[in-house]
């Protein structure tokens, strides 16, 4: 729980595009882990979570195409958290996807490079899709 808050805070931190992309990559990884934990066939939300997992992977991959993304994670601890299981509940997944969508959409409008803009735009679209799948509404 504290990790998801930390990631959200860093997304709003305004430490520059490379740091934002690095955090967004970690955030999508975190979302992917969290969503997979909620893929329960016994619930009516099974199909939306299965599709949301794909969107999280798509968003993560979109970030990888941004030239400004640092070659190595700025915070290696993020990857360790992803492998351990997130323990994040659904409202936090929804909230994180909303924040991701907002900051990446802003970055897509402000980034100087074309490929950075495109990467942010595609990742923002994936975050929006996660939000839609889990809530039925746009972020």
């Amino acid at each position: 729980m504290s990790h998801v808050i930390s990631v959200r805070d860093r997304l709003h931190g305004g430490d520059g595009l490379p740091a934002l992309l690095d955090t967004a990559y970690a955030a999508f990884g975190l979302l992917l882990s969290a969503i997979e934990e909620h893929e329960d066939p016994a619930t009516g939300m099974f199909a939306p979570f299965v599709f949301a997992a794909t969107q999280a992977a798509n968003g993560r991959d979109a970030i990888l195409f941004a030239p400004s993304l640092p070659a190595r994670p700025l915070r290696p601890a993020d990857a360790i958290v992803n492998r351990r299981g997130s323990g994040i509940d659904v409202p936090d997944i929804v909230a994180l996807s909303r924040v991701l969508c907002q900051v990446l959409a802003q970055a897509a409008g402000a980034a100087p490079g074309r490929d950075d803009r495109l990467a942010c735009l595609h990742a923002a679209q994936s975050a929006a899709a996660i939000h839609r799948l889990l809530t039925g509404t746009d972020p």
Binding site: P48, A53, A57, D61, F65, G136
Partner: protein
């Protein structure tokens, strides 16, 4: 079941084409012309030889020194091919007839033969859409049906059908060859040639019949042969919302067939791994997971319906299938998770198979859930369809939907597996460099996937294929039991795997004939020469007709006994049919179905296989 043309359509047309009452075309004919009939029969025989050449293409070469032991079916196919070669020699024109200057209406019998030949030719073309020939001339499968077409049950069924056509044509043509009517034009040589050809067509049928008696043709093989569709993409049905169950079933089955067709095509091109995209892989995996989930839900509903209707065994099997579908869903979910951990080197275009897999999810979901506008991306799934909303008459179709969907999921898993393996060999399966340990010093965002990650992905596809196959096999049993339209899928599966068919005791009615007490085959309903004369005289006394039939049979037995005792290689083939009287006797003996009657004709020379001839 399918809106595509099937082989059975052309087979029925061929039989109807030969049926004198099948095509009342209203054109009065002045009479029959034996030369025209010979030419038309030659064309029919050419097509039939193409079939028997296909049936014998993969058999070992037969030479004077190499006489391999063949199965009864393979032996009958070889004999049929040789018999047709002999027929073709009799029918070959020796004195070319000058072409008539005016266009004349061909005789009715010639038209029947032409129609049958055309239908059979189209039927063979249909079968050949399932194969391609590579640069080395080797025939390669092009569809999921190809293994079933070359299977033993279908081969036997096809031989049986060829034999039936041969019999039908021989019965009709021999009657004209020996006719004394002034309406039948033709000299003695034409009559002898046509009659001899008919005798060899009967011989073909006798070979097939003998093979059937040694290894009976199952009704499954015949049904499967008839159900083989043309290898084209089935038409797409559009989901509109609020469709009744019957329309949903048609749409779901059509969608499942489309996915299988597209998946086969994709797997066929697996070597061209640049076509594989991660977008397609992810879409197929996520939708297959949800389709499996929908099938599990649907099968649970069906089990409840069957239980309510008092069909305990069907309900129990459907419950088992529902559990297996749930297991298949879990394996597909693992595959979907594995796919999120890789990428491909190709940009994210979505393949036609992946697009259609999404359609299948929608169709199956609309059947499984109460919401008529259900969509996998519209939030919580809502309530399942209440069992009472399915009418009893809908149940076979709904079972067929689940059966088709599970077969499709099996095909998809296999296709994805093959494509990923080919792409991995070509180094096109990638992973984010950031997901690799720090000792991987790669200055790019993506790197070639480590072997263990590819193996893990391939393993998940293999598990999905196995789990989906188990569900499909269980549903195949239910389909056979409930006689659903999808039972041909189970028959095809059983034909290919060599498993016991679901109805092994049912034999093809075409071959069923009463047997006499002494084990001999009963005489056919066709009158023999003596009985024919009595009938021509207008005799209708039952005792006299029975006596004449006995005399005909006695005469046949006497002739067959004499011929069996003699050395058949020392007499020419046409000698016994030189006069009209002996030809009628030999014809009747051959028509009788007595397996020893084939010795009336010279056995075919089996020195070497016929060289390939030109396509008709």
């Amino acid at each position: 079941m399918t809106s595509r043309a099937t082989f059975g359509d052309f087979l029925r047309l061929a039989h109807r084409g030969l049926d004198p009452g099948g095509h009342p075309d209203g054109t009065a004919t002045a009479g029959e012309n034996l030369e025209e009939i010979i030419r038309a029969l030659a064309r029919l025989v050419t097509v039939m030889r193409c079939y028997t050449r296909d049936l014998t293409a993969t058999l070992p070469e037969i030479t004077p020194r190499a006489q391999p032991v063949l199965s009864p079916c393979a032996d009958a196919c070889t004999q049929a091919h040789e018999a047709l070669a002999t027929v073709a020699r009799f029918l070959a024109l020796r004195d070319p007839v000058p072409r008539p200057t005016a266009i004349t209406q061909p005789s009715a019998q010639a038209r029947r033969l032409e129609r049958a030949a055309a239908s059979l030719r189209m039927g063979r073309d249909l079968l050949h859409t399932h194969f391609s020939v590579d640069t080395e001339g080797v025939r390669r499968p092009r569809s999921e049906w190809a293994p079933a077409i070359t299977s033993e049950p279908v081969t036997r069924a096809l031989l049986t059908e060829i034999a039936r056509i041969a019999r039908q044509a021989a019965d009709q043509c021999s009657a004209l060859a020996l006719s004394q009517s002034a309406n039948v034009a033709g000299d003695g040589q034409a009559r002898r040639r046509l009659n001899a050809a008919c005798q060899w067509l009967w011989m073909l049928e006798a070979s097939a019949r003998a093979a059937h008696q040694r290894a009976p043709t199952s009704s499954g093989g015949t049904e499967l042969l008839s159900a083989i569709p043309v290898n084209t993409l089935p038409p797409r049905c559009v989901v509109r919302g609020g469709e009744p169950v019957t329309v949903l079933c048609e749409g779901a089955i059509s969608s499942a067939e489309r996915v299988r067709h597209l998946a086969w095509m994709a797997a066929d091109r697996a070597a061209a791994s640049q076509n594989l995209t991660v977008a397609s892989l992810r879409q197929v995996a996520e939708h297959s997971t949800v389709t499996s989930h929908n099938c599990a839900s649907l099968l649970g509903i069906l089990a409840a319906c069957m239980a309510q209707a008092g069909h305990a065994e069907a309900s129990s099997r459907l419950t088992t299938a529902a559990e297996e579908a749930s297991q298949a869903r879990d394996t597909w979910l693992r595959a979907a998770r594995e796919v999120t951990r890789i990428r491909t080197a190709t940009p994210d275009l979505v393949s036609p198979a992946a697009i259609e897999a999404a359609e299948l999810t929608l169709w199956t979901g609309r059947l499984a859930y109460a919401d008529p506008d259900w969509s996998p991306s519209h939030g919580p799934a809502g309530a399942l369809r209440p069992p009472e909303t399915l009418a009893m008459e809908d149940l076979p179709q709904v079972i067929a939907v689940a059966h088709h969907a599970c077969e499709t999921l099996t095909s998809l898993a296999c296709a994805e597996h093959d494509q990923v393996r080919a792409a991995a060999i070509a180094g096109r399966i990638l992973v984010p460099t950031r997901s690799l340990p720090d000792d991987y010093d790669i200055p790019y965002p993506f790197a070639r996937a480590p072997r263990e990650r590819v193996v893990s992905l391939l393993k998940s596809y293999a598990e999905s294929a196995r789990a989906s196959r188990r569900t499909a096999d269980t549903l195949g049993g239910v389909a056979a039991m409930a006689h659903t339209p999808s039972r041909t899928l189970a028959l095809a599966r059983s034909a290919v795997t060599g498993q016991a068919e679901h109805h092994p005791d049912v034999t093809d009615p075409a071959w069923q004939q009463p047997a006499e007490a002494d084990g001999q085959v009963a005489a056919t309903a066709m009158p023999g020469p003596v009985q024919t004369i009595l009938l021509d005289l207008g005799v209708n006394d039952v005792a006299l007709l029975t006596r004449s039939a006995e005399l005909d049979r006695e005469a046949e037995r006497l002739i067959i006994d004499a011929v069996t005792a003699a050395d058949p290689h020392k007499r020419p083939a046409r000698e016994l049919s030189r006069s009209t009287g002996t030809a009628a006797l030999v014809n009747h003996a051959l028509q009788s179905g007595d397996p020893r009657a084939v010795t009336l004709l010279r056995p075919p020379v089996r020195a070497q296989r016929e060289p390939p001839e030109r396509e008709p």
